[in-house]
């Protein structure tokens, strides 16, 4: 049996998280197929076909698939799933929206946000904001799984040469329609895929002061993040939020500035390779998990940091 990976994309480019999902999928079964559902998205199918480890790409190309509507995409997944042992997507806002809907239609209990594949039917997943890791066995005939992208290496984007097969498109059930999208500016790496994340907390004191962080992020080609406290205070937009109820990141370098380190925040970043904390409070819990801690006033440290980085 094969695994069906639901690709995530914007009709032009495959999102990097799909590469991590391919790696997880290849540990579940030998054959990895990728579903590209979208509109005018043949280019995405071509990119998916080149990913190492992918043996077939299924292309469902129709106007009503353009905007990632769960009702439409899950209908497509439902139509294809029976031929697979596993259906897998990234635990992103897209994957979390679509996958449980498709699973329920097959009367299968899905497994969310896995961080390890122990065997084709056994997976590890964090619960209670990452304060415990549960190992779960899923006996369902089709295993519907979302994968935490940061827990798996990305499959090489090149090296494959899979055939692309056009499949019959599932009809629009007519339950929903797309209205509009307010995109974040894409002059920075995406938070979840970035190599470096520069994150600010309530210690920044204002939205204006977050600009200090932007300069550091520019220099490091980093994504910007924030604690929930900073988001709640209106210093940063919600889609920067890192933590249990925001985004889960695991970059090579996580720079936490003015963040005290509530457990809900740590849940979103503690798997980063190197954690740096700058905080004026030497007792801040963030220092308990930081590889490098600097007790300093961030308004003095940030300009110095920019200067040192050159």
């Amino acid at each position: 049996m094969a695994v069906l990976v639901i690709a995530e994309h914007d009709n032009r480019r495959l999102r990097p998280s799909t590469l991590n999902v391919v790696t997880a999928a290849s540990r579940m079964a030998g054959d990895v197929h990728v579903l590209v559902a979208g509109a005018d998205c043949a280019e995405v199918a071509r990119q998916a076909a080149q990913v190492t480890g992918v043996s077939k790409v299924l292309l469902a190309d129709a106007p009503h698939m353009a905007e990632e509507l769960a009702e439409c995409v899950s209908e497509q997944v439902v139509a294809l799933a029976r031929a697979y042992s596993h259906v897998v997507a990234a635990a992103t806002s897209f994957g979390k929206d679509v996958l449980p809907r498709a699973a329920a239609r097959h009367d299968c209990a899905p497994v969310s946000d896995i961080v390890a594949v122990e065997s084709p039917d056994t997976f590890a997943r964090p619960i209670y904001a990452g304060n415990a890791i549960a190992t779960v066995r899923c006996g369902e005939p089709i295993k519907f799984v979302t994968v935490r992208p940061t827990a798996f290496d990305a499959a090489p984007a090149q090296g494959g040469n899979a055939p692309v097969e056009t499949v019959a498109v599932a009809a629009d059930p007519g339950l929903s329609r797309f209205v509009s999208r307010e995109g974040a500016k894409l002059d920075r790496p995406e938070l979840q895929g970035a190599r470096v994340v520069v994150s600010g907390g309530r210690g920044l004191g204002s939205a204006e002061n977050f600009k200090l962080l932007e300069k550091v992020a520019d220099r490091l080609n980093a994504a910007l993040g924030a604690s929930r406290a900073a988001v709640d205070a209106g210093y940063a937009p919600n889609d920067w939020q890192v933590g249990q109820t925001g985004k889960i990141v695991a970059p090579q370098l996580y720079l936490a500035v003015g963040i005290s380190g509530a457990i809900q925040h740590l849940a979103g970043m503690k798997d980063s390779k190197v954690i740096v904390a700058i905080n004026k409070d030497p007792e801040a819990p963030i220092f308990q998990i930081a590889d490098y801690g600097l007790v300093a006033d961030l308004f003095e440290a940030l300009p110095q940091l920019l200067q040192e980085l050159g």
Binding site: A104, A132, T245
Partner: protein, 250 residues
């Protein structure tokens, strides 16, 4: 128009849970329990819609042990009109809960069902989506804004990289994100009033729903602990360490 809100009783978000020494699960005995924070946002949204004259009745549904009644009384004190508890012992997995809610959906015929996007205990983020699938209705997950008009709900959703607005035909399922609203505090008079509001108790059997577990938890362990690293005296040392020791910047 009737609104159904799902309310889950969970370990309070301020409590740090401990894994049982034998790896059989998380120790929840004698811990403070509260309403799942995302469900609180759901109750608040439903009550506001009724207060705005857009809904006529708010029904709070819970599934689980008898103590869930305490959580339901909180929902009633916030302004829900009545409550239904589907009483069941033991673990209820999201698919089982979705099936129970589907049975209540068929019985009550609401125009809108509001759930939290995830419960902060199992962090599954599945139930709303599965209920929508089983009921054959549209879903708008991770809502930060909800507007009802002409038989549709227009919902702004918190998605990766920004906001997406969709319209879903009613009846529909909406799951809440943090910015949808700020739930009110319950007042003593409202707590007293809530005691008089109707609370109906059912069982999964009454609803002909099979709640058997589909997923088996083999073991539960503590996550790998990260050790604290070193303190650096100044920014220059920090940058040198990141360059030469950690090799994460150039």
């Amino acid at each position: 128009m009737k609104i159904l809100v799902a309310v889950k009783r969970v370990v309070d978000f301020n409590v740090k849970v401990r894994v049982k020494a034998d790896g059989s699960g998380v120790d929840t005995a004698n811990l403070k329990m509260s309403m799942n924070p995302f469900d609180e946002i759901g109750v608040e949204e439903a009550v506001r819609l009724r207060e705005a004259g857009l809904a006529t009745e708010v029904v709070a549904v819970s599934c689980g042990v008898p103590q869930c009644q305490e959580t339901q009384r909180t929902a009633l004190a916030m302004g829900a009109d009545r409550a239904i508890l589907v009483q069941a012992e033991g673990e209820l997995q999201p698919l089982a809960v979705a099936k129970i809610l589907k049975a209540i959906f068929d019985r009550e015929q609401p125009q809108l069902v509001i759930l939290g996007k995830q419960a902060i205990d199992d962090d599954s983020n599945q139930t709303g989506q599965m209920l929508a699938a089983l009921a054959g209705v549209g879903q708008a997950t991770f809502a930060s804004k909800l507007v009802l008009a002409d038989g549709w709900a227009q919902v702004t959703r918190e998605v990766d990289g920004g906001l997406a607005t969709v319209a879903v035909k009613l009846p529909a399922v909406v799951t809440t994100d943090l910015r949808l609203n700020e739930p009110r505090y319950v007042t003593l008079p409202n707590i007293m009033k809530a005691k008089k509001k109707p609370l109906e108790t059912l069982t999964p059997k009454d609803l002909a729903v099979d709640v058997g577990a589909r997923l088996q938890t083999l073991r539960t362990v503590e996550p790998a602990q990260r050790k604290a690293g070193i303190r650096v005296p100044d920014v220059a040392t920090l940058v040198r360490k990141l360059r030469d020791e950690a090799k994460v910047i150039s």
